[in-house]
């Protein structure tokens, strides 16, 4: 399957497609507007980058009698956002760590009154300590907010016998930084909460992980899970941004609703507030030291990988873990040492974003690989080819690379498809001719592990349910969410295929915690692979349980199947089939040494970027992009292509354009789409996506997870292409014209054309 090809038998139209195209899909912001009881909500936030809240002054300029007000004192349960550690308050009580923390919640039926009241609340904030805004400043430890300003430190160490080569190894050292990045889902974060007459707190909104939200509400409200219901509404994008933050505003909306006697409360962030306070990609700093034999065999990888975690722990340890595991890349190397740290800074907490730490460390490794290739005077493609993992090799975590290790094949196809060798020669000739532009070609080879890291899936113990309906259909009950990635269609396709029935006999059930079991969060490239596989297994058991109906035989017709389903439905709960995750055989994961099997499957990829840099303006244009990945099996190739193309565009944005600028309080200053620049279609030329399907992954029919994969490769491929074009090393992203201008000016003497 390649870009531009369509095969309708494998690519049924997306189930949610037509309603979204026609604008019929209601999003949270469209709901409840006619409800006369509805209250609108707003948040009063801290302005200092850490300090003590000494008081709250409700100004006299507004009538407070009919305003719903919630502060930390009104929290019935625990004042902490439930995640890995209870360090982040739902509402600031006294101490706080960053600007933009919620301190007071307001709700009122009249939005104008609400806006006015919001301006009347004054927080008495006293600064405490010295804020730190960079990894460097945090680790210098002048002001420690947590011990060593370090949330977590991980070590991955793999040491084998050193090969004596008789020649001194060639060594390079590289330090690079990557910036934050905003997910920029189209739909901002939002929740509506109410207290139903039956005493259940019902919260609905835009989210990836309904059971995370449920757990957070249980802790904050102090209510049993049976009195809380979480419903996902049509979600306009997530990219990780709706993994943890929905828990925060769900608590806020629910607290207001309880305070308002159960009336529905709608809390929707506007774009600027969303940009300022919600979690983004972790900024990173990598220090990489690579050594290779003169023949180009990688001998050692020493990698210090630091992530800026922001002011609370949130998901940073998990992001760090994925970054550490992916740092050494898909290469064979006897001696690998990675040290990862997630550090405290005074920024709002950083969080999940497609790739989850891997794009940061892969960027550093791939940039280092090109520099080492130059030092060895080898072509970067040939150097990589020599070192890519093959089946039977021992990988960085000490695991033996399985038969599904297709790293070399991905590279070979990418080189052939992009005409790599020919284009490289052509670009070098173009550059020698000395025109107004310079061209380059760059490569990244990488892999991405799908599903939760290590023993994560075992701990999650996801469950899925298939239920027969009164209409004679099969309802698929999972807590995984359609967030624009096509999961609803893909999962229905998997179930229909396993049941041997047309897709229209399978219904994707409402994602409502009162109905669906906990099949885990919609993150980590796990939905199709892990949850899909569970559905496939459940389907087999469902068929066994199906009572006989009508005609006999192995392949019952449609009317027979529907009749059987109706019979099964009549049995009630007894007719449902629930499948629970069980860990596959394989080496265990050791969290202390980072050795063992880190992921059930890796997808393998090689990306090639061709760029042209304008020497008048230093603008970089992508001439062509080739993306080859071995993904096991594409359930719906069209959806897979869309995922990959979209991820590449997001990667191009991170590489060239997207630049989170911080204000003096550590909050995003460019909080408008006029100043936070993402690519438009005019910035993207041809993207050639090639899916290789060897069918050996852990998912349905051998599928591997792909959601995050395409975010990993574009930035290093582009950086390597820019380096090839200009002949200068780059050490950070984004490669803006301003950065390239400054970088070239530093090396003016070797680039005489600058002063021509």
């Amino acid at each position: 399957m390649r870009s531009g090809e369509r095969d309708f038998s494998r690519n049924p139209l997306r189930l949610d497609g037509m309603d979204k195209i026609l604008g019929r899909t209601p999003y949270l912001d469209d709901l409840h507007l006619r409800d006369p009881d509805l209250l609108f909500a707003a948040t009063v936030r801290t302005t200092l980058p850490g300090g003590v809240l000494e008081g709250i002054d409700f100004g006299g300029g507004t009538d407070w009698s009919d305003m719903t007000v919630v502060t930390a004192r009104d929290i019935p349960g625990t004042n902490a956002v439930r995640l890995l550690e209870n360090d982040q308050p739902v509402l600031v009580e006294r101490e706080f760590r960053h600007a933009g923390e919620a301190a007071v919640l307001l709700a009122h039926p009249d939005r104008r009154r609400l806006r006015k009241a919001l301006l009347q609340v004054r927080l008495a904030e006293r600064p405490a300590g010295v804020p730190v805004f960079t990894i460097e400043a945090a680790l210098q430890g002048q002001a420690e907010t947590i011990p060593g300003n370090t949330y977590t430190e991980y070590r991955l160490e793999k040491s084998g016998p050193r090969q004596e080569t008789g020649h001194p190894d060639t060594v390079i050292a590289v330090e690079v930084e990557t910036p934050s990045q905003e997910q920029l889902y189209i739909e901002p974060q939002g929740m509506v909460a109410r207290l139903a007459p039956d005493g259940v707190v019902r919260v609905e909104g835009s989210m990836q992980c309904p059971y995370y939200v449920l757990d957070a509400l249980v802790q904050c409200l102090g209510l049993p899970a049976s009195r809380i219901q979480v419903v996902q509404t049509a979600t306009g994008g997530g990219f990780g941004g709706k993994e943890d933050f929905p828990s925060v505003i769900a608590c806020h909306a629910a607290l207001l609703a309880l305070r308002a006697g159960g009336r529905p409360v709608r809390l929707v962030l506007d774009r600027a507030e969303d940009l300022r306070v919600t979690p983004k990609r972790h900024p990173s700093r990598s220090r990489v030291r690579l050594a290779a034999t003169p023949e180009g065999r990688l001998q050692s990888v020493a990698f210090d990988f630091d992530l800026d975690g922001g002011a609370y722990r949130t998901l940073s340890p998990v992001v760090l873990s994925r970054g550490v595991i992916h740092a050494p890349g898909p290469y064979r190397c006897p001696d690998v040492r990675v040290t990862g740290r997630a550090v405290f800074t005074s920024h709002p907490p950083f969080g999940a974003f497609r790739g989850f730490g891997a794009p940061q460390s892969i960027f550093a490794m791939e940039v280092a690989m090109d520099r080492l290739a130059s030092r060895l005077e080898m072509d970067p493609a040939e150097f990589r080819r020599k070192n890519l993992l093959c089946p039977g090799d021992t990988g960085p975590t000490g695991d033996i690379a399985g038969e599904d290790t297709h790293a070399r094949k991905a590279l070979d196809v990418a080189l052939e498809r992009s005409g790599y060798a020919r284009r490289r020669t052509e670009h070098e000739a173009w550059n020698r001719a000395g025109g107004p532009t310079r061209r380059g070609i760059g490569l990244a080879t990488f892999c991405h592990g799908a599903g939760f890291t290590g023993n994560g899936e075992t701990h999650l113990a996801s469950r899925v349910t298939l239920a027969a309906t009164a209409e004679g259909k099969v309802e698929l009950l999972v807590s995984n969410t359609e967030i624009g990635q096509g999961a609803a269609t893909t999962l229905v396709q998997v179930a229909a295929e396993a049941l041997g029935i047309p897709m229209d006999l399978v219904v994707f059930g409402p994602v409502d915690t009162a109905r669906v079991p906990n099949s885990g969060p919609t993150v980590a490239s796990r939905t199709c692979m892990v949850v899909g596989k569970l559905l496939e297994k459940a389907a087999r058991r469902f068929l066994e349980q199906l009572p006989p109906a009508g005609g006999k035989g192995n392949a019952p017709g449609r009317p027979d199947f529907q009749e059987a389903c109706r019979k099964l439905h009549a049995l009630g709960g007894a007719g449902e089939v629930t499948e629970t995750y069980a860990a596959p055989p394989g080496p265990a994961w050791d969290e202390k040494t980072f050795q063992g099997r880190a992921y059930a499957s890796y997808a393998w990829a090689a990306y090639v970027a061709e760029v042209e840099v304008d020497l008048v303006t230093f603008e970089t244009r992508i001439l062509h992009f080739t993306a080859v990945q071995e993904i096991g099996h594409a359930v719906n190739p069209q959806i897979a292509l869309g995922q990959i193309e979209g991820g590449i565009v997001q990667g191009i944005g991170w590489a060239l354009l997207e630049n989170v600028v911080w204000n003096g309080s550590g909050v995003m200053a460019n909080d408008r789409l006029a100043t936070y620049i993402i690519p438009t279609s005019a910035d993207i030329d041809g993207i050639d996506v090639i899916l290789l399907e060897e069918g050996q992954g852990a998912g349905p029919r051998g599928a591997k997870g792909i959601g995050e994969l395409p975010m990993d490769g574009p930035a290093p491929a582009i950086a390597n292409a820019v380096r090839h074009a200009l002949g200068v090393d780059v050490d950070r992203l984004p490669l803006t014209p301003e950065y390239l201008h400054a970088r070239l000016a530093e090396q003016q003497e070797v680039h005489s054309w600058l002063s021509k």
């Binding site: 303006t617 460019n670 006029a674 279609s681 910035d683 014209p737 301003e738």
Partner: protein, 285 residues
């Protein structure tokens, strides 16, 4: 409630403005002022004067004198498509085509783009390069001044009380002139300009520069003409000017700053490179 007035005739609009000059903010396409209203509702005026009903301010006419008059209310999509503009003032068609997105160009007007007085606006450099005149009306009458005298400071113009812009006048460009426009934005489309240059470079019979005009955006507090640079190039061969000299000359003409979009150093460097590119080759982008 905010007052909203939508007069049908220019005279009516000018009378309203004349009666209570501080009361109204003029709104045409609304693509700038409505964004501003959303971001800073506290700055909303007491009343809005909606001039979208003034059909006499719409349209493009080529006069017998060879001059072109563009009504202030002409949408940028009409400017972009106009045959006379495309043939004889192609830089204006080019700048209109990169102002916002097509949907914006359908609403946004040439007069509005100027009166919003943003230093980053896309059309002012072209009007400066063409030596345009601006037509200003009030209840008391109509005056025409060089557009280069219109901008008085950061987001300020010389418009007096009760005055509004009604049109722009463009003279024919000398034959054989090199025309150049390039917008360096934050991305390939839908971008706000980081550095923009429109240049008209006429040549004498000996091939030397005669009366060049360089209009810039985003390198000073207003759209601006690089007068010192133009004067220094007078009578010289365009290829004989090294870029180092252009950079030094531009120091007299521009004062770029660092902001959320770019750096002063980058703007200064690229401004000089654009002038050099303009001198070497006609170029539209």
């Amino acid at each position: 409630m905010t007052e909203w007035r939508r007069p049908r005739h220019l005279r009516e609009a000018l009378e309203l403005l004349g009666e209570s000059p501080d009361r109204y903010r003029i709104v045409a396409g609304g693509t700038d002022v409505m964004v501003e209203r959303h971001l800073h509702p506290e700055n909303a005026p007491a009343g809005w004067l909606d001039i979208s009903g003034l059909s006499e301010l719409r349209g493009i006419a080529r006069l017998e004198t060879g001059e072109l008059r563009v009504g202030a209310m002409t949408p940028l999509s009409a400017v972009r498509e106009d045959a006379a503009v495309r043939e004889s003032w192609p830089l204006l068609a080019a700048s209109a085509a990169v102002t916002g997105a097509p949907a914006i160009q359908n609403r946004a007007t040439l007069g509005g783009n100027i009166c919003n007085a943003s230093p980053a606006a896309d059309n002012p450099p072209v009007l400066l390069a063409y030596g345009a005149e601006i037509e200003i009306a009030s209840a008391g009458g109509v005056r025409r001044i060089p557009y280069s005298a219109f901008h008085a400071g950061y987001r300020r113009t010389v418009l007096g009380q009760g005055e509004m812009v009604t049109g722009l006048w463009l003279k024919p460009v000398p034959r054989g002139s090199r025309q150049y426009f390039r917008k360096v934005g934050t991305r390939a489309a839908q971008a706000i300009t980081k550095v923009g240059l429109a240049a008209v470079v006429p040549f004498g019979p000996d091939g030397t520069v005669r009366g060049a005009r360089f209009g810039f955006s985003s390198v000073a507090e207003t759209p601006c003409l690089a007068r010192t640079t133009a004067a220094a190039l007078e009578g010289r061969s365009p290829l004989a000017v090294p870029s180092g000299e252009i950079g030094a000359l531009l120091e007299q003409d521009i004062a770029p700053i660092s902001d959320l979009r770019s750096t002063g150093a980058y703007r200064r460097q690229v401004a000089a490179r654009l002038v050099r590119e303009a001198l070497q080759a006609g170029h539209f982008q």
